[in-house]
Amino acid sequence: MLAKRIIPCLDVTDGRVVKGVNFLELRDAGDPVEIAKRYDDQGADELTFLDITASSDNRGLILGIIEQVASQVFIPLTVGGGVREVDDVRRLLNAGADKVSINTSAVLNPQLVADAAGRFGSQCIVVAIDAKQVGDHWEVFTHGGRKATGINAVDWARKMVALGAGELLVTSMDRDGTRVGFNLPLNRAISDAVDVPIIASGGVGNLMHLVEGVKEGGADAVLAASIFHYGEFTVRQAKEYMREHDIEVRL
């Protein structure tokens, strides 16, 4: 049976892994290549790198990091952050990424998703949706959660899949970095709305949250950062815990 995936996420800025709370207050967590190797050893199913480098000067750093990781770690690598055009996708794939995650640019230019999927295949195009509760629904936010778009997140998920997204990374902006658990209704609503796999992200503080993401949120994969970065849990411990709760994992 297909296993549910655990994906450690590495937020990278200026060549270092960092972690913030609600996208603010960044804290250094170490060297990306070393951290990637550690998670691979622990049995991570994939790795996601989000380039949150603000200055364009240091943007190229991520390519070198991906090249180094890809020659030592043989599991799928997803890279996102600052992907604006088809050529950015090509550069990341050539550096060794298997999938590229598109976020803000998909909102500014939805055709980018169609063009990138048409050129490289849906299997390597992930659309990242940052959503926040607004009234009785969830709305898509961009620019690292700073800008409201007025777009309904569930409608947006359907549209992105129709354009060619092969997978959706759904982050609850209300929960990110808070360690209180995924926004389960948000994940469930999007998972039920589309046929492609979804990755739940934002808010993991303990291992039960991962179980809930799969069982209640309908996630095909769960993404977490801080519970792994600071040595609180290993990926292996997380998988053993999920297996104890009758979730199929790769161990």
Partner: protein, 215 residues
């Protein structure tokens, strides 16, 4: 002398495949190439592929690689990966396109709407992630790999060989489907060994040592 040629027809990322081969065979010369002469000169050939099958067929022909691939599949140790498996078949439902016709059979799509797991959850398409691979019989490429080992998949279509005897491995999603075929010098897999950690590297290492005899 080229030891291993990775066929490059502009579809998908071949860097991962080449890196993984270099990792398991540091003393071999691995070349990513779209030159038919280099494919002909190589001792063994890896035929990967990503994206949509109609695009793959078109790009393969645009580079004049069809004959070189068919020739390699006739007598060299030959490893097909993902679309490189599907392309060996006669026909695909994806774009209603003809493949290379090296292996009799069809390529079909998973029926997304009807697929549920044992507890009733909807199964997604593409079939993406780590699934167990059951070996249908003994083969040199399975050396050191356990029955039911997990490999990384990402695909929406699967192969249906006419001759069930060429099945080398299968997975379940939720129904059983053929995910590996072996015939003489050809071994081809739907999953991505280059992304399947230890077991994937083991399979590639086995391929590098394989004499091209399946039976």
């Amino acid at each position: 002398m080229i030891d291993i040629a990775v066929v490059d027809y502009g579809m998908g990322n071949l860097r991962s495949v080449a890196k993984a081969l270099e990792h398991v065979a540091p003393d071999h010369r691995v070349v990513v190439t779209s030159d038919p002469a280099e494919i002909e000169a190589a001792g063994r050939v890896v035929f990967p592929g990503q994206g949509a099958m109609p695009d793959c067929v078109r790009e393969l022909d645009a580079r004049g690689l069809r004959e070189a691939v068919i020739a390699a599949a006739a007598d060299k140790p030959f490893l097909g990966i993902c679309i490189g498996l599907q392309l060996l078949f006669e026909h695909s439902e994806e774009g209603d396109v003809a493949g290379l016709g090296i292996i009799p059979g069809q390529v079909k799509r998973f029926a997304a709407a009807d697929m549920h797991d044992a507890v009733g959850s909807k199964l997604k398409v593409p079939h993406m992630g780590w699934n167990q691979v059951y070996q249908s019989g003994k083969h040199p490429l399975w050396a050191g790999i356990e029955q039911g080992a997990r490999f990384y998949y990402v695909h929406s279509y699967y192969v249906q060989p006419q001759d069930a005897a060429i099945e080398a491995g299968y997975s379940e999603y939720p129904a059983r489907f053929t995910s590996c075929v072996a015939r003489n010098n050809i071994f081809a897999v739907q999953f991505h060994p280059e992304k399947s950690q230890h077991d994937g590297l083991q399979l590639l290492a086995n391929f590098v040592r394989w004499n091209g005899v399946s039976n």
